[in-house]
């Protein structure tokens, strides 16, 4: 990777702090939506934020998760173009579905409802999360419909699949190598409900930005910080 390219991923301490605060607001909005769905308080943990290139993001996910994962993918297009993924370990996703449906449901029925329920959850969480960007930045983008994915972390982060899903940008990225794309990875999305503290849901929100989107993001951060 070129030095210039590396610089794109290296945020100043203040830029990183600002981005973390935006994500914090996104997490707050997402948790609020989720709490309304589960009809209980969702406890937030401080998010860990990493801005890393594609290869490193894949390594981090692979290192953390051996088991099968489930994900909801939400593409967005506009001034910010990219892919947002909400990823849960397979076992935890069923637990979330059970909590959402709020009753004792046999496993086989639960599995049938898994996809539909997680799509709803993912849609709500990712939309809330991404909308936090528009609270302080002057960026506009639209969401596409959410998709349900299941597989290994390598499969879920497969760049070719995400680009294929963003059909209009395929040509734009046709000549680019995988390491030329910017990734923002936020880890440790943990929730647990107040009455049953054993129920803790760990997951990841992964945002895959195009290089251009990353440049817009940095520009917006610079504008905000220069006004303070």
């Amino acid at each position: 990777m070129s030095r210039e390219r590396e610089g794109m991923f290296r945020l100043s301490e203040l830029e990183e702090d600002a981005l973390k605060e935006f994500f914090n607001m996104g997490l707050g909005m997402a948790a609020n939506s989720l709490s309304q769905m589960v009809n209980n308080e969702v406890l937030l943990t401080l998010p860990k934020l990493k801005v890393v290139p594609y290869e490193e993001a894949t390594r981090m996910l692979v290192a953390n998760q051996d088991e099968k994962l489930v994900a909801v993918r939400q593409n967005f297009k506009g001034e910010l173009t990219g892919t947002a993924l909400l990823i849960f370990p397979g076992s935890e996703s069923l637990e979330l579905v059970r909590t959402l449906l709020n009753e004792e449901i046999p496993l086989e029925v639960l599995t049938e409802l898994e996809q539909e329920t997680l799509l709803d959850v993912g849609n709500v969480i990712l939309n809330a999360f991404l909308k936090s960007f528009t609270q302080m930045m002057h960026v506009e983008f639209e969401f596409e419909s959410a998709e349900f994915l299941k597989g290994s972390s390598r499969f879920l982060l497969d760049i070719t699949s995400h680009l294929a899903a963003q059909n209009h940008s395929l040509m734009e990225y046709a000549d680019a190598d995988a390491d030329e794309r910017a990734f923002v990875l936020m880890m440790d999305f943990k929730t647990s409900d107040e009455n049953n503290t054993n129920h803790t849901l760990s997951g990841f929100v992964v945002l895959l930005f195009s290089q251009q989107a990353m440049l817009i993001l940095r520009r917006e951060l610079e504008v905000i910080l220069s006004n303070l």
């Binding site: 702090d17 605060e21 707050g28 609020n32 303070l228």
Partner: protein, 121 residues
């Protein structure tokens, strides 16, 4: 005339900078004390009389509600507002239960003015 004192406690530099910007631009009759977490805040307000406190909820160490309770023990009646991205109803009820206000992030000049007006009631 002595200036009024406000406290902002937030582990985010951005959040503190935003509040600092609002106070330095239009609220000249106020002094602002900035703290990055609860322990830092308790140290900095020792011996000070506060008129207004804006406190984040999610911080490393002590959370904003616990800090608010500690400040209220020392200065009952002070106008405290929880300023948080955690906008869930139960969080708002928790703030209400200990008699403090609730401000949804992002903070704005208008929200600070409303908190100041409440302080003077």
């Amino acid at each position: 005339m002595d200036k009024k004192k406000a406290l902002i406690v937030d582990d985010s530099s951005l959040a503190r900078m935003m509040v600092r910007k609002f106070f330095s631009d239009g609220f000249e009759d106020w002094d602002l004390i900035e703290a990055k977490d609860a322990m830092d805040a308790l140290e900095k307000i020792e011996g000070q009389f506060l008129h207004l406190a804006l406190i984040d909820f999610n911080m490393p160490g002590m959370n904003g509600i616990d800090l608010a309770e500690k400040i209220l023990e020392k200065q009952p009646g002070i106008a405290i507002h929880l300023v948080t991205a955690n906008i869930q109803e139960r969080m708002q009820l928790r703030a209400q239960a200990i008699g403090i206000g609730f401000i949804k992030k992002p903070i704005s000049r208008e929200k600070i003015i409303a908190a100041m007006q409440e302080q003077t009631k």
